[in-house]
């Protein structure tokens, strides 16, 4: 079992490493991730939302839908813990 | 042929399907329930008969239920071939209903409501098969018939019924899903349609001979209700059912639905011309001939009367397939005609077997010595029925066998003629001892005296069907005409 797990791990790691070959270098300001979307956020977010903390602006507004579900996720977690752990009264 | 859109085909199918509901509802009142049964059976005959004139005049009816797959609707269509089968089935159902009432009451069977309801659904499916306009609709009703007969086969709900029921479903469902369904799909893929068309739909697809052979064999084995060996084992097993079930379903409806489906495929999916062109007729005739001979030989060895009849049925069914496989018009007419002739003969035989069981409680031929003197009407009917099956004049079976023999000669396959003759001889060999024992052997010692004829409800139907098989020799006109129309003569 452990050997199998090790093999699975190594294979997964190898595939991931193979995938990193195409990655732009770390910290490259011209990487696709750094130029495509994020520039719009950095340049427009303050003007569009009046929130200087870009993370908050993106979190609360541009991707507010994600954040809403994030809140629901943690709400669910709380409920799930209660419902799993408590013994029912009857 | 021109078809007019009409609700009547649907009505003919639905009347007994919906009729199952009032039967179920009147669970606690047997008289009401059985009145319903007879009423529905009668209504069905009337509806089917009302469509007869139009069909005889070369017309037909069509009704589309739903369009489910591109180019393949669920559609009912009444043509000569369907009319032929529907007429046989609905008339015989009327007799069977009467007989069932007598039989079930005499034996005081349990769960009679379920029995009559399933019966109604089964006949509905049978008519559905008869009136199917395409292969998909036929398959639908074919499966409906398989499933609705399961409660009938396992009616007694004991260990034997359970085993037989399992065997029945394994054969029937297994072959229809495993062989018929893929054959149907490949056909659809090749032809783009599944409509029954005079002359076949596969001719235009340009498929090569090996593919066609594969499809044909899949279809023949797929419709295992026709009992082509080696997929015949379910039929003797299904004989555990109450006798009306055996007589009607396993003498007429179920098995003939299998044959009818194969005939439909040969006539209207492949088309005789295509089969002749790629020389596939021999495949059919070889399979059928083998089944005829083997089944007749096995029938000789059976002591249980119903099992002997079952093997006889297997053999007779292959006559019809054989006729179709000759690919000549006369042979095909003979094959189709044999559906009707055999139906009347075999149902008489089964009715008699049931009557003997009701009256004397006997199942085995070896116990039936001397019974003929006590139940003369039953035994006379049995004699008539067996003569018809053997193909003696003046009984209906002669007409179909004559056509078959002519077809064999016409197609130039004299070996088939030999098969017909040998099997007729074998038929005589396994039927005459029963009659002989009944009339001429002394009764075994210690036999109770009280044995007399079965109740009237049993006796009347079996007399009528026996007379019918006699009458069909003299007046075969209606069926002959329909059969000829079906093969295009």
């Amino acid at each position: 079992m452990k050997a199998l797990a090790l093999v699975a791990t190594l294979v997964t790691g190898a595939i991931l490493l193979y995938g990193t070959m195409d990655f732009p270098a770390f910290g490259d300001p011209n990487a696709p991730a750094a130029v495509h979307l994020s520039n719009n956020y950095i340049e427009q977010a303050v003007a569009e939302t009046h929130v200087p903390n870009l993370v908050t602006a993106v979190l609360g507004d541009y991707r507010g839908y994600d954040t809403m579900f994030e809140t629901v996720v943690i709400y669910c977690a709380g409920l799930a813990v209660v419902s799993v752990l408590r013994r029912s009264k009857s | 042929m021109s078809y007019q859109s009409s609700i009547w085909p649907l009505a003919a199918v639905l009347i007994s399907l919906l009729g199952a509901l009032p039967i179920l509802a009147s669970d606690r009142r047997p008289n009401l329930r059985e009145s319903w049964t007879i009423l529905i059976a009668f209504g069905k005959v009337v509806i089917v008969a009302s469509m007869l004139p139009t069909v005889l005049n070369g017309g037909g009816f069509v009704f589309t239920i739903a369009e489910v797959i591109p180019n393949v609707p669920i559609q009912l269509r009444v043509d000569a071939m369907g009319m032929f089968f529907a007429l046989v089935a609905s008339i015989l159902w009327l007799f069977t209903s009467l007989y069932s009432i007598g039989y079930m009451r005499a034996l005081d069977e349990h769960d009679q409501t379920r029995y009559f309801a399933s019966f109604a659904v089964a006949i509905s499916a049978t008519l559905g098969v008869a009136f199917s306009a395409n292969l998909l609709t036929l398959y639908l009703f074919y499966e409906m018939l398989s499933l609705s007969t399961y409660p009938l086969v396992t009616h007694h709900q004991d260990a034997e019924a359970r085993t037989s029921g399992r065997k029945y479903l394994t054969y029937i469902l297994g072959t229809s899903i495993g062989f018929a369904l893929p054959a149907m799909l490949i056909t659809y893929q090749l032809a783009g349609t599944l409509d029954f068309t005079q002359g076949g739909i596969l001719a235009a697809s340009g498929a090569d001979a090996s593919t066609l052979a594969l499809i044909l064999v899949l279809f023949i084995f797929g419709f295992a209700k026709a009992g082509i060996m080696p997929f015949h084992g379910w039929l003797p097993a299904a004989m555990v059912a109450p006798t009306p079930v055996s007589s009607f379903l396993h003498g007429v409806a179920v098995v003939k639905v299998g044959v009818f489906s194969i005939l439909r495929v040969i006539f209207h999916i492949f088309g005789p011309d295509l089969l002749l062109q790629v020389h596939l007729g021999t495949v059919i005739t070889t399979l059928a001939s083998a089944t005829i001979l083997i089944a007749s030989l096995v029938a000789l060895t059976q002591d249980n009367l119903k099992r002997r009849l079952a093997y006889s049925t297997i053999g007779q069914l292959s006559y019809m397939v054989l006729g179709a496989g000759m690919l000549t018009a006369v042979g095909m007419t003979g094959g189709l005609l044999h559906i009707a002739m055999h139906a009347f003969g075999k149902i008489t035989l089964f009715f008699c077997a049931g009557a003997i069981y009701v009256a004397a409680g006997k199942k085995y031929i070896s116990q039936m010595d001397g019974l003929g003197k006590r139940m003369p009407i039953t035994y006379l009917a049995f004699f008539f029925g067996s003569l018809s099956i053997i193909g003696m004049p003046p009984f209906g079976g002669f007409i179909s066998k004559w056509n078959l023999a002519t077809g064999a000669i016409e197609s130039g396959q004299l070996i088939l003629l030999l098969v017909l003759l040998v099997s007729s001889l074998l038929n005589a060999l396994y039927f005459f001892p029963i009659v002989y024992r009944g009339f001429f052997m002394p009764a075994a010692e210690g036999e109770p005296d009280g044995i007399k004829e079965a109740p009237l409800f049993c006796l009347i139907p079996l007399s009528i069907t026996a007379l019918c098989s006699l009458g069909l020799f003299f007046w075969p006109g209606l069926f002959l005409r329909l059969a000829r129309m079906a093969v295009g003569l």
Binding site: G60, D61, M68, A77, V81, V82, R87 | -
Partner: protein, 159 residues
């Protein structure tokens, strides 16, 4: 001195006077900091989630230094639960409200129809509103998680 000794002996494992006193003094400041983090999320690192966790941590700290019952005395389970529900309700409610007032889902500028502050200001304010909601929800859930996991689900039976 003796009194103190007796008291120390009576104390359960892990409880100490010094820690308890320190915690008692620290909790208000922690809570204040948590509120600051929520409110000031627009201008500095942090926001509803982090602030909520800090608020929740203050109760967890109480529970650690004293026991679970003490923290329940500060905020009963019913209140905690209501706060959690209200928190999520603020977020989803604002989202639906935006849709109801003619905008798209979560389009805060649509709320301009209620109080005209200007669409951009409403965006900023809307973010603030939902951050408060997130803060409440996260605080409540964190506390509830700790209560339940720390008591093994015995909350109902007096911890």
């Amino acid at each position: 001195m003796k009194l103190l000794q007796e008291r120390t002996e009576k104390q359960k494992f892990g409880e100490s006077l010094i820690i308890q006193t320190a915690v008692r003094m620290m909790v208000p400041f922690i809570q204040l900091f948590g509120l600051y983090v929520i409110v000031h999320g627009h201008y500095s690192p942090g926001g509803g989630f982090q602030g909520g966790v800090i608020l929740g941590a203050s109760f967890v700290l109480l529970a650690l230094a004293f026991d679970l019952r003490t923290s329940v005395r500060y905020m009963s389970e019913r209140v905690n639960n209501t706060l959690g529900n209200v928190g999520v309700l603020i977020y989803t409610g604002v989202a639906v409200l935006c849709a109801l007032f003619g905008g798209l889902f979560l389009d805060y500028s649509a709320l301009d129809a209620i109080i005209p502050l200007g669409p951009i200001a409403w965006r900023s304010f809307g973010i603030f509103l939902v951050e408060v909601g997130v803060g409440l929800a996260v605080m409540s859930i964190m506390v509830s998680l700790f209560w339940d996991l720390g008591s093994g689900g015995e909350m109902d039976e007096g911890l």
